[in-house]
């Protein structure tokens, strides 16, 4: 299990990186934390002719407040730095709730926040969590930059809206409105194993405790992280009761998704887990929304 040969580029600045990307395009693969890419190279499932290593660009690793109360996270910020950041914990506890499920601490010490999103693994935690949080992604190329919203970003398994000469440089997560609660639940066979199903829920209540807005994102249920739109819509203007929650969970499991099976999980079991975990997440997010933010 040794990787095939490749040319190696390790620029020290984003501009330099973009120059190389624009020159090589399809013939180069971006190396961020490498915690998914390197295993697939070791299995020789991926054999990129060249690697663009971003690890020598200190400018891409930061966590800073956004003026509106959100946060902006540089693409090369290590998962463990996000996990232990007090501002992230305070403003977006759902990120903190999801973080321990990303493999193991040794992987999070190396894996990056942006890398996980750009990798667009349908079983990845961070694509789904940022989707639930309505994040937008800042993308640069030699020719300029653009922001892509999370609803348009994930196109298929390991496929995003980014062009080969583009680089994800930062992720902006907007502030949560008042009376918003969040929650994250997943089922995996053991600590650090791939989630059979994961659910991130963000619920905002109106002063009368009716649902003003909800975003429910699921992972491991389709070709991309999936936003359960019908489930969320079914809650609009309603109180969160066992009945409305059950109806939303049912919509998530039967309308918003059509899950397939794999060796760990039959389609029926996966549907069952969607019901159970969506319900659990909505319940918890609702409680938190009634209590305080997050």
């Amino acid at each position: 299990m040794k990787p095939a040969p490749f040319d190696y580029y390790a620029p020290a600045s984003v501009d330099e990186a973009l120059d190389i990307l624009s020159e090589k395009g399809y013939d180069i693969k971006v190396l961020a934390g490498g915690q998914s890419l390197v295993p697939s190279m070791n299995f020789r499932l991926a054999q990129p002719p060249a690697l663009l290593d971003l690890n020598n660009i200190p400018d891409l690793a930061y966590i800073k407040p956004a003026p509106d109360g959100g946060v902006v996270i540089g693409a090369m910020t290590r998962d463990s730095d996000v996990e232990h950041n007090p501002m992230v914990a305070e403003r977006f506890p759902v990120i903190l709730q999801a973080m321990p499920f990303i493999a193991h601490p040794q992987i999070r010490n190396r894996g990056t926040f942006g890398g996980a999103i750009a990798h667009a693994d349908p079983a990845g935690h961070l694509p789904a969590v940022t989707l639930a949080l309505n994040a937008r992604y800042h993308i640069r190329s030699k020719n300029g930059d653009r922001w892509v919203g999370c609803d348009e970003f994930f196109l298929g398994p390991f496929t995003t809206a980014m062009e080969p000469d583009e680089l994800l440089v930062e992720v902006e997560i907007p502030a949560l409105p008042a009376r918003t609660g969040t929650s994250y639940h997943q089922m995996a066979r053991q600590a650090g194993a791939q989630a059979l199903v994961g659910v991130a829920a963000v619920v905002t209540l109106d002063p009368g405790e009716r649902v003003a807005a909800a975003r429910i994102a699921l992972l491991s249920v389709g070709e991309t992280p999936v936003l359960a739109g019908r489930a969320a819509a079914s809650l609009a203007g309603k109180l969160l009761t066992p009945e409305t929650i059950e109806a939303a969970a049912e919509a998530a499991a039967t309308v918003d998704t059509d899950p397939g099976g794999d060796i760990h999980c039959s389609p029926e079991y996966r549907r069952h887990l969607i019901r159970v975990l969506v319900a659990k997440s909505l319940e918890e997010a609702g409680e938190r929304a009634r209590g305080k933010r997050g």
Binding site: K2, M187, R189, Q190, A191, H264, S266, V276
Partner: protein, 781 residues
Amino acid sequence: MAGKYLGQRLKRNEDPRLLTGQALFVDDVQLPGMLHAAFLRSDYAHAWIKSIDPSAARQHPGVVAVYTAADLGKIWKPGPLNVPPPSGIPGVVFNQRTQVPMAKDKVRHQGEAVAVVIAESRYIAEDAAAEIVVDYEPLEAVIDLEKALGEGSPLLYEDLGTNLASFVHQENGSYAEAAARADLIVKTHIVMERGTAAALENRGYVASWDNKSQSLTMWATTQGPIALRNGLATILGLSEHQIRVIAPFVGGGFGPKILLYQPEEIVVSWASLQLGRPVKWIEDRQENFGDTSQERRQIHEAEMALTRDGKILGVKDVFIHDTGAYNSYALTIPLNTQTHTTGPYKVANYLTEYRVVFTNRILVTPLRGAGRTYGTFVMERLMDKAAKRLGMDRTEIRRMNMIQPDEFPYKTGIVGQDFAKNVLDSGNYPAALDKAKEMIGYEAFLKEEQPRLRAEGKHVGLGISFFTEGSGVGPYEGARITVEASGKVNLSTGVGTQGQGHFTSFAQVAAEQLGVDPKNIFVTTGDTEAFHWGAGTFASRGATVAGSAVNAAALLVRQKILKMASKILEAPEEELELADGMVRVADIPSRCISLAELAVKANPSRGAVEPGTEPGLEATAYFGPPYGATAYGCCAMIVEVDPDTFNARIQRLVMAHDCGTVLNPMILEGQIHGGVGLGLGNSFFEKLEMDDNGQLQNASFMDYLIPRASDLPPIEIAHLHTPSPLNPLGIKGVGEAGAIPIPPAFVQAVEDALPEYNLEISEAPLSPNRLFQIVQAAKQA
């Protein structure tokens, strides 16, 4: 029989090296001019090889050689059997098909080697292997055990005309007669699945042929270095004394590393001979899933005949055993199943019969538990079912059928893996059952705790399972002990070591006889230059058989010491004592001589000795038991099932265990802990998912899960001590104990946690997905 050293909880001698990164493992061997091998392996499970074109790979820069089966010349032939088929059972069918060094005309499992590249680095070797072009004609794969024996199934071996590898029938008494007079017959259909040993260290070999000394040195991750040396000598056409096999520190064995004449062992050593340079091959994890032997796939149709008050009249078990593409290890595993099914119980009428089937999967050889696991699962499931049907307590039905302490030795009449009719040597089974019940708080849990938890909406169940572990089988092992002129003691034995603490436990055995601190006893295991007689480390026999040989050799050295010291100190032998590296006259400690001085005197450099004198304080001794000693135990656990996700967690696990005399309780407990870890894997996680085409779906640790720290509960152990009469120290083996009783206890606990569904679980492992499906089916029924 705890002594000053024996039976003490001594820290291990080998640990400082292992803990500081100074212990030599095979992949740590670096030699000047060393080359690296990479194998090209079949993606197909079953295919004709029409042609192999290695020309591009041969041209690859850095490549020294590329070999296929055609290049191996006369060393290409099916390897010798590791184990012969059993003698003493009438009517045995055994169709021998052993592994070949590389596939020639046909590949019979995914991962089978078809070519090897020898290059300046492993990286280059893998690059070039990808350039070898193989033209295959794919064939339908034989995967399903029942279909494999059916009409029209594709055949692994056309010349054989069947996929039947073996048939064995044994019966003690008459099951038909027992069934005819039974009040109740319970039946079950059991499926256990294949897993893999997954030692953290993969296999690996470094072979170095030295032209000037005309000798081959081979570092190997083997559990049987001496047998490997002898086999290689025959295969390569060398004298045994031209080959030195060293099994250095080995990173976990668990069974598959006892398999000999594996393709890579032969090809790597042969390549070194051809090229006159050292060659290294280290198996990678992906290869390990396809080229290292596996275990645990059997399908049982079993039934038990009982009286209405719960007495067992007879058991009938008919099963199919998957041997994979080859049967180099013959019938050890299914024989173990046959001897362990009835376990601790008196079963006067027992019929056991199996068919072994060739399938397009890697061959099957023993893996920690080795056939005992299924037998125990089958029997314990039958006991549970009978208890339910008769409305009896599950521990009572077990107790009333147990062999009693005064009934040993107990003959079952069934021939086992050592080809002897199985005899259970000693024990107190009811005491172990009582102890486990007491530790888990059986009555209180069922009467108070469980109802209280149910009221809180928690689904918590108790599982309890009994098992026996046939261990310490023959043929023999040996040991040589030398007291050096430095006063230090050298001890060598033929078994290899894979973490069992032999450097310490063997030293403790010798120390007890010689009065030397175990720290000053240097143990060598697994180096054919240090000791070249022995069979290997398997069947939980290291401590029992090699440990007994060490004891015998130490006794002989002790006698030599006493005889010499008696003359020098002018005191009768009975008055001498050995302690602190000295021989002393018991009442007059100032009259003493050190072992170092004695050793010098025992090896005079000038002058004359009495005729017949052997030099040195040295002795070699061997030990072979008449048959294996049987350890046993009882495991109980508390399992909580999450009714939403069907995830199950073991909250507590206790084990009452008896392996006779304990050499070092710390090491013993460690063995049980590790076995339990594998047992949990077999209960919950470990199934190699093979599709109908013979493609493994989970050939990585991402998809094939093995237990992690938070998957396991704390394990509480109680020791019982019934010394075995089969060896002077009274030892029984323990290596496989932990793995055996976990699956039946686990599924029983899951059933107990979900009483509302009245489940009958007859499979292992039991994943949350499967439990969900079983519950859904029960709901619909």
